[in-house]
Symmetry: C2
Subunit: 732 residues, 2 copies
């Protein structure tokens, strides 16, 4: 077996990446040129300056560029950036598409690292626009100027008071936002303004991603001290593989939340009419993003709640959740939702139960969920003690507090406020001490009551509804798991291309073929250590006596080999369960005779002999080169499970062992592999070993465009590849 | 075939129901006694009076009952309701558990129709409490007093200014709310207070449901002019079948939204510790509730958005949705979410597309989703016209408007406000004209901008996020479908019990058995017209010559029949594919000989002969008598589909034809029945016919406690019941 060792599986050009990181300092600008600055209030070139001034961006750092006006809004204007006698970090370009690349040349000469291009009229309008876009990109490369957009609604960095989008009400905070839709961005901003909680650090409208793309922006967030989690609204990645490489590195430093629109065939059509982005199979996209630790969210209204939790809370060490409730309803709803979300309801230690019993009334439920049964109606102290007891319990990874925390003084008596505030302070201290995520749901969240505001300021997210709280708990648990998984990768193996493998492809290419013969495909698999049952093609009866030992004592399947006979069974060209030399001879003759009767002039290669495969659970392994994410492996159960239920998982190649294990465990019908109706579990290790070897082989051979192992028979005593098909990439 | 005709399938005692309805007028009270009225501000008996006065409930209708105080809060008090010289509609009872049933006796004497019992200490605390509760129920029956609770947080009717819960901030509106959890109720109330939109008409905390239960309350809502939709938070139904009967009648008048907590095994444990309610299989509960048209919601944060839409919008005539968007992002998100929710993206008529083209710019997307591409940035009129064009299209049942409707004046220029208001007015007129549901999502919803407020006042719900908007669209479409489906029921058949069927059960009961023999079960099925392959038990070789024609020319399966031989195959007691008289004789002798060799003293009944079943898709039909919902039918595909994937549907018996069709169509793997991998579709009509006959048979025979047809072989040319098992109910 070839082991992957000391290889950073994804990132290949770390140097380029670091260069990008550094250059993105322009997202933190001290000085901004407004190219196409205007004296007309309805123009972006005016509004941008007004906004900067209004927000308190230093006037000395604003450089309006206008061919005529001496000043705009009291700020000295220049006819060209070249006339500015100070360094400029960033330019907002408000001039039309055709003015680029001239603008970029000037910016390059002035050493401006980056331009934000608002104008539309580039690749999104078709061929003509594409040419304009390419000219701009070329200029950017020549003059070393990075481009945000074009066709973007701008960027903002609220910590720098630099709001180049001009949208009002954007609240400052720690979420970094990158979006491919202006309206969706607006939705986030108005929601935060309403709800409070957390706001934004930097926003980037990616526009056409002509130069800088999602990958670059998440690398910026990785280093940005004002960003604690990133939110990406994605209609399409320009280079998905590059994004996977970047995300894999960034995730352990900063959680990345992605909403990918265009999930359904209909949605993809709609998304394409918006941006012209490629939108591949959604389930493939979701699986490979999760593989590199990205938090994939599928409901827009859960994005902010999840980003807030990931940005604020400690990393969870597992997925066992304790629930503390002050009234039954929410405890039950939370339990249901947590179980549905795949989290574990923690089994509390005996000690925790014993200590809870000491502080709670007899009616309290002491097993998870813990229901205080009125113990906090008149004094909040027992609630805070219960929080500490649950956080202390080593069976608990995450704590969810549900009900009406912080609102007892509203519900019952204002005199309770002091006790509630004290409890809130204690809870926030416990969270710091025990470093476990605590997620709070309270029906008093909308009323912004004091105890909850205290908890929020202490870095604890508070939700009004159970569902976003559970979505947050799930995301926190999965992020913890991703961080642990990503650590494991990189220390597994060293791979080399086997020249015998390359020779197989060379022969096929030289013969002008677009696919390997089945026997070649099987030879290649054997070469890389995969278990393909032996097979031999016999041309004459004499050869039957020279069978290898591996075939002599097995019941065999015998099949005609002829490119002129496609339907072998119809031609009487198949004999099954043939045992013993005599029977093999008879079968050999019968097959040849039948074939001749079926088609007299058929060109016959011989008869293929292979052992009968013992029955088992059929699985399918497939490889495709996705247009955006590169080589990807698919796994599923055979038959209706793939065809009807689409119950498959994807992973980008190469896989880590954990990836392989998770992709098998990830199918819905996985229980079938564990044995049902009295059958034994299949040999899971053999299956995982096969997946790892397959991943390595495909990684070594870009000649493979597509591969199908269908079926692979999995049994309690091993796995066998029954059929293999390999389609070749176009020869480079 | 026995046809169901002119039978109201569920409701049996309509008279009782109507009586209940009438008596529930006490939820609309003009006069209220506060029994246990108090002079202490921390007591409910004081707070309730204070609240009534504060809200403007007529002081003349408030009757504090207190043994000593002459007046409370300036309202004349009485020592007993019997001393009040005016009619009293409702009594709020604030006295402890033990004071009931005395209180009820007094109320009965005073002719008070209903009491709201706040006290806890009844069945929820165990045996002792159960006795107290029963005494109270008995008193209620004796004195003709209905009971709300006990162990309830109260009721309110905001249109009557009667808030007996005392919760602040409850906004008036048209949602009727019934809840089994005080905290969950609080969540709804605080959310409405924050969001606006719609509020509440009547609230009832069901408490222990000792007397009045969910069924009674929905019947009240059916007649209440202030309620346009009902929301129920349910932990458990006391009598699920009664609820189904009531809901079936109420739904066509008023939509009912149910959130059922305790979905998962863990959640059920948690729910039980809260209320002691029975919580059955969740998927069964969900399916039978949907069968009677209840809108089952599974996320608490979707409950209010859905209830608002159902209460306000016209009934949808189908599920084809048009999407109108002012910017790509939301159009794509909405399309994805609508498709995922099972709705259809409408195919617009050529005429609509042509007319849209006239009013929208060239960049606009004219096929659904329709993207106005900036057409409404400076003038909202085209948006309103597009709304009318889409509503006119007969291919459109529901319209969803997404993006930033109503906020252009905020985003671009205040001068747009007038145009936006005008468009809002026109849109609300179009909705009235065309009577199709219009659902609006706008990122400016949180800012309560004027045009959106106008639309909301005109009865159009507006959502900030796409997901609740789509959940609302789905609910509206399903409610329309339910109304149509419920209309169809009731005109299908007349059923009678067949005495031969009863005789089969009588024999089994008389022999003290708890199950039918397989042959009896099959006879019963044949009796009710179900297709069970013929079978015959042969005791001697001579009998072989007297085979019925149906068996003579078929390949047969032959099996030993002996209660002493359970593992027939192991005993050599099974022969398959036996064809022809000679072969049958040989097989008969072999089977008997093998059986004797296997177990010399086995008592042998004979050899069973039945035709070999042609292979097909195996399905399972099962019947159970659910503890709360009564007889229920289950359908699923055989093997792993039921066992591993739990891919089954349930319907309460008796089923309508539409129920049968929907329960088959409702399994996830339904495509398998349509033929996959080159196979033909199974005979769906034969399967539906089987389901209907089974439903009728079970409805006629309460003797059947459980039934399993496993497997039923379905093929393109029919269906065959291969095995049947019937467990008997306990004899009455």
């Amino acid at each position: 077996m070839l082991l992957l060792k000391n290889v950073n599986l994804f990132s290949k050009d770390a140097e380029t990446m670091n260069a990008t990181n550094k250059s993105l300092a322009f997202l933190n600008p001290d000085s901004i040129a407004i190219i196409g600055a205007s004296t007309k209030p309805e123009k972006r070139g005016y509004q941008a300056i007004a906004r900067l001034l209004q927000d308190g961006f230093p006037q000395s750092g604003i450089y309006p560029i206008n061919p005529k006006a001496p000043e705009i809004l009291g700020v000295k204007a220049y006819s060209s950036v070249l006339n500015v006698d100070a360094p400029i970090d960033l330019a907002l370009v408000c001039t039309p598409a055709r003015s680029l690349p001239g603008v970029i040349e000037e910016c390059g000469k002035k050493n401006i690292g980056c331009v934000v291009v608002l104008a539309a009229g580039f690749s999104e309008i078709g061929e003509e626009g594409k040419a304009v876009e390419q000219a701009m990109i070329d200029a950017g490369k020549k003059w070393n100027v990075r481009i945000i957009g074009p066709n973007t609604n701008g960027i903002f960095n609220l910590h720098k008071k630099a709001n180049l989008v001009g949208v009002p009400d954007a609240e400052i905070g720690n979420i970094g936002l990158v979006s491919q839709s202006g309206n969706v961005t607006l939705g986030f901003i108005t929601e935060v303004a309403r709800k409070g909680g957390t706001g934004f650090s930097t926003f980037i409208g990616v526009g056409n991603q002509a130069d800088l793309d999602f990958s670059d922006y998440i690398r910026y967030f990785a280093d940005d001290e004002n960003t604690s989690s990133a939110v990406l609204y994605v209609e399409g990645f320009k280079d998905g593989r590059k994004f996977l490489d970047s995300a894999r590195e960034v995730v352990p430093q900063k959680p990345i939340v992605v909403f990918k629109s265009g999930r359904t065939a209909q949605g993809q059509i709609s998304a394409a009419s918006h941006t012209g982005s490629l939108a591949g199979s959604y389930s493939l996209t979701r699986d490979v993003l999760r593989q590199v630790g990205v938090t994939v969210v599928e409901e827009t209204d859960n994005i902010l709640p999840i980003a807030e939790a990931l940005g604020k809370l400690p990393v969870a060490k597992g997925n066992r959740v304790a629930i503390l409730t002050d009234g039954g309803g929410h405890g039950t709803i939370a339990t249901d939702a947590l179980v549905d979300a795949g989290l574990m309801i923690a089994k509390l230690s005996d000690e925790t139960v014993r200590k809870l019993k000491e502080i709670l009334p007899p009616a309290a439920a002491l097993n998870n969920p813990v229901d205080v049964a009125g113990a906090t109606d008149e004094d909040s102290a027992p609630g805070a003690i219960a929080v500490e007891l649950l956080l202390q319990d080593e069976n608990v990874d995450i704590l969810m507090v549900t009900g009406m925390l912080g609102g007892f003084h509203r519900r019952f008596s204002e005199t309770l406020l002091e006790s509630e505030l004290q409890a809130a302070k204690e809870i926030s201290l416990h969270v710091k001490t025990y470093q476990k995520p605590v997620i709070i749901q309270s029906v008093y969240r909308p009323q912004k009551v004091e105890p909850l505001m205290h908890l929020q300021q202490a870095g604890l997210p508070v939700y009004i509804w159970v569902e976003p709280a559970v979505a947050a708990a799930k995301a926190v648990a999965e992020y913890g798991a991703s961080c642990r998984r990503l650590q494991q990768v990189g220390d597994s193996s060293d791979i080399t291309v086997l020249p015998e493998g390359t020779a197989i492809f060379d022969r096929a290419y030289s013969e002008g073929r677009s696919a390997l013969f089945e026997s070649e495909a099987k030879d290649l698999l054997r070469l890389y250590g995969l278990d393909v049952p032996p097979e031999i093609i016999i041309k004459s009866e004499q050869d039957l006596s020279k069978l290898p030992e591996s075939l002599k004592n097995e019941p065999l399947a015998m099949k005609i080999v002829s490119e002129d006979i496609l339907h072998k069974s119809d031609a009487g060209g198949v004999k099954l369960n043939v045992t013993g030399e005599e029977a093999r001879k008879i079968a050999f003759q019968q097959i040849l005779n039948n074939a001749k009767d079926y088609k007299a002039d058929a060109k016959i290669e011989g008869v293929l002999l292979t052992p009968m495969l013992k029955s088992g659970v059929e699985v399918i392994l497939g490889v495709t080169r996705d247009a955006t994410f590169g080589p990807v492996l698919m796994f599923g159960l055979g038959g209706v499970f793939v065809e009807v239920l689409k119950d498959v998982t994807f992973r980008a190649i190469p896989l880590s062992k954990t990836d392989a294990a998770e992709m098998v465990e990830g199918i819905k019908a996985v229980e079938i592999l564990n044995g049902v109706r009295g059958t034994k579990a299949i040999d899971r290790n053999a299956l995982l070993d096969l997946i790892m070897k397959l991943s390595e082989m495909v990684w070594m051979h870009p000649e493979i465009a597509e591969l199908d192992l269908n079926p692979v028979i999995t049994r309690p005593d091993g796995v066998s590849i029954a059929d293999a098909r390999i389609i070749l990439s176009e020869k480079k």
